[in-house]
Symmetry: C2
Subunit: 143 residues, 2 copies
DNA sequence: TTACCTGCAAATAGTTTGCAACCCT
DNA sequence: AGGGTTGCAAACTATTTGCAGGTAA
């Protein structure tokens, strides 16, 4: 069952895309998973609900969602494209020891950056968005 | 001719890697190019100097340099691995209209972030490095 | 000399494409 | 009805692997 039917439907309409079972299933998964899946992971997950979806379709849908600003493409260090659903603005924590990536929302920091670039701009460019890529290690508990 | 022979040689020694013509050529290019090439671009460029280098070797070298902290892997939105030589700490400007990526060093900003996270840490993690991923558009000149 | 390194070619994996059939609106 | 959308299979591109031979230290 699709969790966010109405929400997804309006996302699609805003982008001028038709509502299809494949799009519903892919977006529903992206919204629910709260992770940063690559194409194959999305495909595997969606297969459970829409068994006959093809991987080529998943490629096409994810790409078009990214074009329409519904998802963003992410950098990953394994050479595979990853996608991220943008519910709220957030940064990313990259664990250097394994390949985990976690969301890190921080409004306070967003404000600081916004203010900083209000005064000092980057010449020749207009800033659209700023995301932090924070490399982290898990803390060892030695008290 | 290798521009930074001594420098590269010590980089390699610090990482316990033998000095080979292939490694010299690849690193020399990475240092000189000041860009963010993908594997094929490195291969093409290095071919001019070391004609019989194989692409498999380029893959292996870039990967091992990244493991040893000489290069960093980069996120790119085209599904190809890109590498970046780390001369000084810098951030990245991603042009949203084309696929250009530019370096953006900014010590002032590094200080601000460092101070911010001195007070407010991320629980469970130790921060290793912070990079900004700044999405930009070229400014239209309308005065 | 010896352990590390490289090139080759083949295998594997990831992504794109073209088109006929299908299905939202 | 009609144009956007999908699945398929094939093409294409990117990356990894194993191993024999080569080379830096």
């Amino acid at each position: 069952m699709i969790q966010n039917y109405q929400h997804i439907k309006s996302l699609l309409q805003e982008s001028g895309l038709k509502t299809t079972p494949q799009r519903l299933a892919v977006l529903d998964y992206m919204i629910a998973c709260k992770c940063h899946p690559n194409v194959d992971e999305v495909y595997q997950a969606v297969c459970a609900h829409v068994p006959d979806i093809s991987k080529a379709t998943v490629y096409k849908l994810l790409e078009s969602f990214a074009q329409n600003g519904i998802l963003s493409k992410m950098n990953s260090n394994d050479g595979k494209l990853k996608y991220d659903y943008i519910a709220e603005h957030h940064h990313h924590l990259y664990d250097v020891d394994n390949d985990e990536i976690k969301d890190y929302p921080n409004n306070e920091l967003d404000e600081i950056l916004k203010n900083y670039f209000k005064e000092k701009s980057i010449d020749g460019y207009v800033i659209e968005d700023i995301k932090l890529e924070i490399k982290v290690k898990k803390q060892i508990n030695n008290k």
